[in-house]
């Protein structure tokens, strides 16, 4: 279980998170929605401990990730897999080396075995015969698939997705949604996705939470969110320019 308690984070005078609270149950698929720049990526980076909170805590099965020693933190990270917004593939390595990175580094696998596992993970995300290609030769959708294969290679318990469908065409986006659902069913992982794509949120979420002005202002099942009477959430999910959400730099 992941528990975010009263999380505060500022960069200089930019107070991004201002008391965020969120609980994610084991095996659940949680989607955090929110506008661009609302701090979704900052929130997810706190869960995996690449950012440290100013105050508040992030509990992974009861252990505060910000209070772990460096070794414990790296051990804990082996339980996670993360798909980055732009895939963040290592561009100096071949596709299979990307996928097998953690296996070779921590599992001390032989190159041949690691490559075999990489191929298997690539097949799981629908890619065949790309092992020896460099990431720069892949399309955006394929990069995300490779990123996903890399995230699941070491069989993590928790998967984090940073805007998995952003920047993809609708068909490719839906294919990624299907993959995320498939991962959850096949690997029975806990997953946290952040997105502003409502179509994707409704499709992959067990529960949806909305991040606004540094706090989680609503949580609920997709149906509950669809029928909310919270005006801010309504405005966001219907995608209306009129409502309580102020568009940055624009005065009404």
């Amino acid at each position: 279980m992941i528990e975010i308690v009263d999380l505060y984070k500022a960069f200089g005078r930019n107070h991004v998170l201002r008391g965020a609270n969120l609980k994610i149950e084991k095996g659940e698929s949680m989607v955090v929605i929110g506008g661009s720049g609302s701090g979704k990526s900052v929130l997810i980076k706190h869960i995996i401990g690449t950012l440290k909170p100013d105050s508040g805590s992030i509990l992974i099965d009861g252990a505060d990730i910000a209070k772990l020693s460096e070794n414990e933190l790296y051990e804990t990270r082996k339980r996670f897999g993360m798909l980055f917004q732009m895939a963040a593939l290592f561009d100096s390595m071949k596709v299979w080396e990307n996928v097998a990175f953690a296996l070779m580094r921590h599992g001390k696998l032989k190159e041949k075995d690691a490559k075999e596992i990489a191929s298997e993970k690539l097949r799981m995300v629908g890619l065949i015969g790309v092992e020896d290609i460099m990431p720069s030769e892949l399309s955006g959708g394929m990069k995300k698939r490779v990123g996903l294969a890399r995230a699941i290679a070491h069989s993590p318990e928790i998967l984090l997705y940073d805007e998995p469908t952003t920047g993809l065409d609708p068909i490719m986006a839906d294919a990624i949604n299907d993959l995320i659902i498939e991962m959850k069913q096949k690997l029975s992982v806990t997953s946290v996705a952040i997105t502003h794509d409502m179509h994707s949120a409704y499709k992959i979420a067990d529960r949806i939470a909305m991040l606004y002005e540094g706090r989680i202002i609503a949580t609920g099942t997709p149906d509950e969110i669809k029928n909310t009477d919270n005006a801010t959430v309504r405005q966001f999910i219907t995608g209306s320019a009129v409502g309580p959400i102020k568009i940055e730099g624009v005065t009404a």
């Binding site: 690449t50 790296y74 990270r77 980055f84 732009m86 963040a88 290592f90 953690a102 580094r105 070491h154």
Partner: protein, 268 residues
């Protein structure tokens, strides 16, 4: 009237403020570089060794810089010989050319010029590479794959920089002296055995290894400064550009300034 008097005072005040702010920023940056150096050394000591990556960096930095080092060294040796020959001729001291070339190259120009070249080639490449990895979240990805990015990325570059610069300097020393010999003997027509005797008679091993100590220091400085600039890049592609120029400028400044103090300390 009062205005005219106030203006220079105000300008002075403002430029003092700016100088002070620059100084504070510089001190802060120096502190952060030292912190990164400490964690690099800590990760360097902890097992496992990053042998494969270190070897890759050694080859990378060596190959990137070697051609330019060779050309620079040979021409520096040549021009040194030419200038000192024609200059020394005025007081009939042409025989000293070999000594001047050997001492200048081994003590000073070998390490410094090689350092500046490596700063421009390999330092820039390190900053650009790490900067790109930062802004495309590849460094975050390393973290999420339970890999310490300081150990994985910076330690190999730091070791490689520290050992490759003295190696390149040895080559530069040799090539520079040969360049000086070539000009003195074949172009200016001096006696070749006199040149060599004058080179060896006055050259001490301490000249060579003190030069190499300087080179080690320059190599370590270039690596840690360039990695620092790259590692803490922000602001997209523009940020990578800034990090790259920043790395070259700061490394070069560090080489030139520390060279004076190292020389004062090493060559008593």
């Amino acid at each position: 009237m009062a205005n005219i008097l106030l203006k220079p005072v105000e300008l002075l005040g403002r430029s003092l403020t700016i100088s002070w702010q620059t100084f504070v920023l510089f001190t802060e940056e120096l502190g952060r570089i030292m912190l990164l150096l400490c964690s690099t050394i800590k990760q360097l000591i902890l097992p496992p060794l990053e042998l494969k990556n270190t070897f890759k960096q050694v080859v990378e930095i060596g190959i990137k810089s070697l051609p330019v080092v060779l050309i620079t060294a040979v021409f520096t040796g040549m021009v040194l010989a030419l200038q000192s020959y024609t200059g020394f001729k005025r007081f009939n001291a042409e025989v000293m050319v070999g000594t001047v070339v050997a001492l200048s190259i081994t003590r000073e120009l070998g390490p410094v010029l090689t350092g500046l070249i490596v700063a421009g080639r390999a330092g820039a490449a390190m900053a650009a590479e790490l900067g790109t990895m930062r802004v495309t979240e590849q460094i975050d990805a390393l973290e999420t794959l339970a890999t310490n990015p300081v150990k994985y990325l910076i330690v190999p570059r730091f070791i490689a920089g520290t050992i490759i610069l003295p190696s390149l300097t040895v080559i530069a020393d040799i090539i520079g002296i040969i360049g000086g010999f070539f000009v003195t003997v074949t172009v200016l027509g001096a006696n070749s055995s006199v040149y060599w005797r004058r080179t060896w008679d006055y050259l001490e091993t301490s000249d060579i290894y003190n030069g190499l100590i300087k080179a080690c220091f320059f190599g370590a400085s270039i690596a840690i400064i360039s990695c620092y600039k790259g590692f803490y890049t922000s602001g997209g592609a523009e940020g990578v550009g800034k990090a790259t120029t920043g790395a070259v400028v700061l490394s070069s400044m560090t080489i030139l300034i520390s060279d004076y103090f190292l020389s004062a300390w090493l060559f008593k």
